[in-house]
Symmetry: C2
């Protein structure tokens, strides 16, 4: 089963990468772009077949390794049933 | 309107970051983890209010700046209506 862990900087945490992207979009001529935030997404192929347990495992991985929960928040999504 | 651009390495492209995460999960005692791929997600706050045009603008930004389309694929999603 595939799980996607999305990690974003928490609100209020400085996000220099997002700021740099926003600035670069401006210099490329894109207008109407407000705040930009940059995060990461980790796609995990899990052998667990039970959705609830797969999600719990991915959350545990996010807490222990993938996200720095002091400054980052994360969410776990499982791939739609058709793609499992 | 909020748009999310998700950028992932294309299939077959070496992903050292994903490999490193997979290895680290193994040393932390997580079993049953197969392939791991690491990508990025960019959250854009757009002033455009028309969903179709907002999506087209975000796709243009992805092609021009956010993704390296030689080795990365991207997808654009708009925030659900309730969060716009």
């Amino acid at each position: 089963m595939k799980a996607f862990v999305t990690v974003m900087p928490k609100n209020g945490v400085l996000d220099p990468q997002g700021k740099a992207i926003g600035h670069a979009l401006g210099t490329l001529g894109f207008s109407g772009v407000g705040e930009v935030r940059a995060g990461k997404v980790i796609e995990l192929e899990l052998s667990e077949t039970d959705p609830a347990r797969a999600k719990a495992a991915a959350e545990e991985m996010a807490r222990k390794l993938l996200a720095n929960t002091v400054i980052e928040s994360f969410k776990v999504e499982l791939a739609p049933e058709s793609q499992r």
